[in-house]
C-alpha cells in the first residue's frame, strides 16, 4: 500500500472560550490505512475527530483531504467529499425502522428534488439487507431503531457508515458497551474494510487496538505524543509518563 496521503492535519488548534482542547496537532493518514488514536482522557481525541468531520472549526491550522484544503468546509460538504463519522454516543434515528435508517444513510442522491421521485424499496434494497446481515440486524429490519439494545445500536451505526460508503471513516469508541465476542466481530469487519476504506478509530480497548491497527497514534494534552506500532508505542517512556496514574496503557 504505497502511501498516498488521503488526510493531513497541519498545526491544528481548537479553543473553547479560552480552553485549548487541541494545539499544534499534526496528523497524516494514508489511503487504505487503519489508524488507531489513543490517549488518556482529555487528550483531545474526540476533538480531533470533530475537526476532521467539520463539527468543530479549528482556530488555526489546515486540513487537507485528497490534496484539497477542506479546513473551512461545513460538515455536510465534507461528508459529500467522503468523510463519514460514528459518534461516541451512538446516534441513529430512533423513530425510524432499521431499514429506513439504512435507507437514509444510503445517500447517492442528496438533493431535495431528486429525492422527491425516489421511493423506497428500490433495487438497492438487496444491498441494504445484505448489510443488515453483516452486522446481524436482519431479524429486526422493520423494528424502530429505538427498540434496539445498546450493542445493536452500535452495530446499526456501523452499518449506517457502511451504507454511506465513505472513503474516510471516523469512529469514536465503536466497541463501547459491546461484549468481548461482539468486539472481536467488529475487529473482523474493520479488518475487512481496510484497503478499500481509510479508517481512523478512537479506542480505549487495547486488546481491540492491537487486533486491528498497523499504526497507533498516541495523543496527550492536545497534541501527538508518539506514533508507531503497538509494541513500540507501549515501550515509549513519554507514553508511559502520560498514562501514569491511569493504570498504564494496557488497561487504559
Amino acid at each position: 500500500m504505497a502511501g498516498e496521503r488521503i488526510l493531513e492535519l497541519q498545526d491544528i488548534a481548537v479553543e473553547f472560550s479560552g480552553f485549548k482542547a487541541v494545539s499544534g496537532l499534526n496528523l497524516g493518514i494514508d489511503r487504505g490505512e487503519l489508524r488507531c488514536l489513543i490517549g488518556p482522557n482529555g487528550a483531545g481525541k474526540t476533538t480531533a475527530l470533530d475537526v476532521i468531520c467539520g463539527k468543530v472549526k479549528p482556530s488555526a491550522g489546515r486540513i487537507t483531504l485528497k490534496g484539497q484544503d477542506v479546513t473551512r468546509l461545513p460538515e455536510y460538504k465534507l461528508a459529500r467529499r467522503g468523510v463519514g463519522r460514528k459518534f461516541q454516543v451512538p446516534s441513529v434515528f430512533r423513530q425510524l425502522s432499521v431499514r429506513d435508517n439504512l435507507e437514509v444513510a444510503y445517500c447517492k442522491h442528496l438533493g431535495v428534488f431528486g429525492n422527491l421521485l425516489g421511493f423506497k424499496r428500490g433495487a438497492e434494497n438487496d444491498g441494504l439487507e445484505k448489510l443488515a446481515e453483516l452486522v446481524g440486524l436482519e431479524e429486526v429490519l422493520d423494528q424502530p431503531a429505538g427498540y434496539l439494545s445498546h450493542g445493536q445500536t452500535q452495530w446499526l451505526e456501523i452499518a449506517l457508515l457502511l451504507a454511506q460508503d465513505s472513503e474516510v471513516i471516523l469512529l469514536d469508541e465503536p466497541t463501547a458497551g459491546m461484549t468481548a465476542q461482539e468486539t472481536m466481530h467488529t475487529a473482523k469487519i474493520f479488518n475487512a474494510l481496510r484497503g478499500r476504506h481509510t479508517l481512523l478509530v478512537v479506542e480505549h480497548d487495547m486488546a481491540f487496538v492491537r487486533e486491528i491497527s498497523d499504526v497507533i497514534t498516541v495523543m496527550h494534552q492536545g497534541r501527538v505524543l508518539a506514533e508507531g506500532r503497538a509494541a513500540e508505542v507501549q515501550k515509549d517512556p513519554a507514553v508511559r509518563e502520560a498514562y501514569l496514574g491511569s493504570g498504564g496503557i494496557a488497561d487504559a
Partner: protein
C-alpha cells in the same frame, strides 16, 4: 410482510375517508350545511399542511396561519377587482380604497385582474414568505423552539402590518363584498355543491399526494431530520434545504386552503392570520395526530365540527376555547400522537407485548444516554 399489510390498510383507510367526504352532497342538499362542511374540509387541508412540517419534519410552525391568510387575501383581491361597478369606486378602485383617499390602484393590486395570476400568487406568496424566513433561520441551526417562536413573531408582525396598512388591505375589516368566482364555466358560489366538491377534491388530492410525499426518499430524510437533525448533516444532506422545502410546501398548501376559505366565507379578514386561528391549527393537528395526514385532517374536521354543531355565540366560543385549551394540554401530556394513534394501538394489539418491553428498554437507553451526553458536553 406486516409492513405491506400496514401500507395497504392505510391506503384503504385514506380511500374510505375520501369517499366519505365526496359523497356528502348526495345526502345533503342544504346549501347552508354544505357551506359549513366545506369550511371544515378547508380547515382539514390547513391542518394537514401543518402535519407535513411539524409531524414529519419536526418544524413546529406556530405561524401556519400566515400562509392561510395570505392565500385568502390573494383570492379576495382578485374577486374584489371583478366586483365592478356595484361595490367598487370610480376607475375600478375598490370601495375601501376610495374611502381611504387612495387615488390609483397600487402596483401590487394590478396583476390580480388575472385569475391565473391570483391563484398562482395564492400559493407562491406564502411559499416565498416562508422561503425568506426559512433561508435565514434554518441554516443558523437554532433549536426547534427558536423556530417556533420566530414563526409566532412573524405571524404577529404580518397581522399587525396588514391591519396597519388599511388603505391597501382594508385594515380591520379586511376585503369584503366580493363577486363569485367563475372558472371553466363553473360558478363557485359559497353555498353550492361546486364549492364543496372543490374543497373535498383538494383535500383528497392533498391526502394522496401528501402520502406519496412522506413515503418518498425526501419524506424519509425529513423524518430522519425530525429524529436527529445533527446526524443527518453528517450523511452529506443539506438539512436546511430539506427543512426549508417542507416549510415552503406547507405554506403553499396553507395558501391554497386560504383561497378556498375566501370562496367559502366570501371575504378575507386579518383574523384569518391572527394568533387564535394559528393556535387552533396546532390544536387540531395535535388532537388528530401530528404525524398522520388523515389524522391531522380529521382532527380539524372533528374539532370544528363539534364546535359548529354546538353553538356560535361569543359566550359559548369563550368557554369552548377554555375547554380546547384543557383538551390540548391533556393530549400533549398523554397522547402525543393524537387520537389517530388509538387506531394504531388497536390494530397493533398483537405486537403490543413485544413493543412494551422494547419501549421500556428504550427509556432506559435514553436515560443513560442523556446523562452521557451531558457529561460529554463538559
Amino acid at each position: 410482510m406486516t409492513r405491506n399489510r400496514d401500507a395497504i390498510l392505510r391506503l384503504v383507510g385514506y380511500a374510505l375517508f375520501c369517499a366519505a367526504i365526496l359523497v356528502v352532497p348526495l345526502f345533503v342538499d342544504n346549501g347552508y350545511l354544505l357551506n359549513k362542511f366545506a369550511r371544515y374540509l378547508v380547515f382539514g387541508i390547513l391542518s394537514l399542511a401543518l402535519s407535513l412540517s411539524w409531524g414529519y419534519a419536526g418544524i413546529l410552525n406556530l405561524g401556519q396561519a400566515v400562509g392561510f391568510g395570505l392565500g385568502s387575501y390573494c383570492m379576495a383581491m382578485a374577486l374584489k377587482l371583478r366586483t365592478i361597478p356595484i361595490q367598487t369606486g370610480a376607475g375600478g378602485l375598490p370601495d375601501f380604497m376610495v374611502w381611504n383617499n387612495v387615488q390609483a390602484l397600487p402596483w401590487f393590486w394590478v396583476p390580480f385582474h388575472s385569475y391565473a395570476f391570483a391563484i398562482a400568487a395564492g400559493m407562491a406568496v406564502p411559499a416565498v414568505v416562508a422561503f425568506l424566513i426559512g433561508w435565514f433561520v434554518f441554516p443558523a441551526r437554532v433549536s426547534g423552539v427558536y423556530v417556533a417562536i420566530i414563526t409566532l413573531a412573524m405571524l404577529v408582525v404580518i397581522n399587525l402590518v396588514i391591519i396597519d396598512q388599511q388603505p391597501y388591505t382594508g385594515g380591520f375589516n379586511g376585503i369584503t363584498d366580493l363577486t363569485t368566482l367563475k372558472l371553466f364555466g363553473i360558478e363557485f358560489d359559497a353555498y353550492s355543491d361546486a364549492t364543496y366538491y372543490l374543497a373535498a377534491i383538494t383535500l383528497s388530492l392533498c391526502l394522496f399526494l401528501g402520502l406519496a410525499f412522506v413515503n418518498s426518499k425526501t419524506g424519509l430524510i425529513l423524518q430522519a431530520i425530525r429524529d436527529d437533525e445533527t446526524r443527518v448533516w453528517y450523511f452529506g444532506y443539506n438539512v436546511a434545504a430539506y427543512q426549508n422545502f417542507v416549510f415552503c410546501l406547507s405554506a403553499a398548501i396553507a395558501g391554497f386552503a386560504g383561497m378556498l376559505y375566501t370562496l367559502v366565507m366570501e371575504f378575507a379578514s386579518p383574523t384569518f392570520l391572527a394568533v387564535p386561528i394559528s393556535l387552533s391549527i396546532v390544536i387540531w393537528c395535535a388532537v388528530g395526530g401530528r404525524a398522520s395526514l388523515v389524522g391531522a385532517a380529521l382532527g380539524a374536521i372533528v374539532v370544528t365540527g363539534v364546535q359548529g354543531s354546538l353553538s356560535d355565540t361569543p359566550a359559548f366560543l369563550d368557554t369552548w376555547m377554555l375547554i380546547m385549551g384543557g383538551l390540548f394540554i391533556v393530549i400533549v401530556l398523554f397522547l402525543p400522537n393524537g387520537l389517530i394513534s388509538l387506531i394504531d394501538l388497536a390494530l397493533g394489539k398483537r405486537r403490543r407485548g413485544r413493543a412494551a418491553t422494547a419501549a421500556a428498554s428504550v427509556v432506559a437507553i435514553e436515560r443513560s444516554e442523556s446523562s452521557r451526553r451531558q457529561s460529554a458536553a463538559r
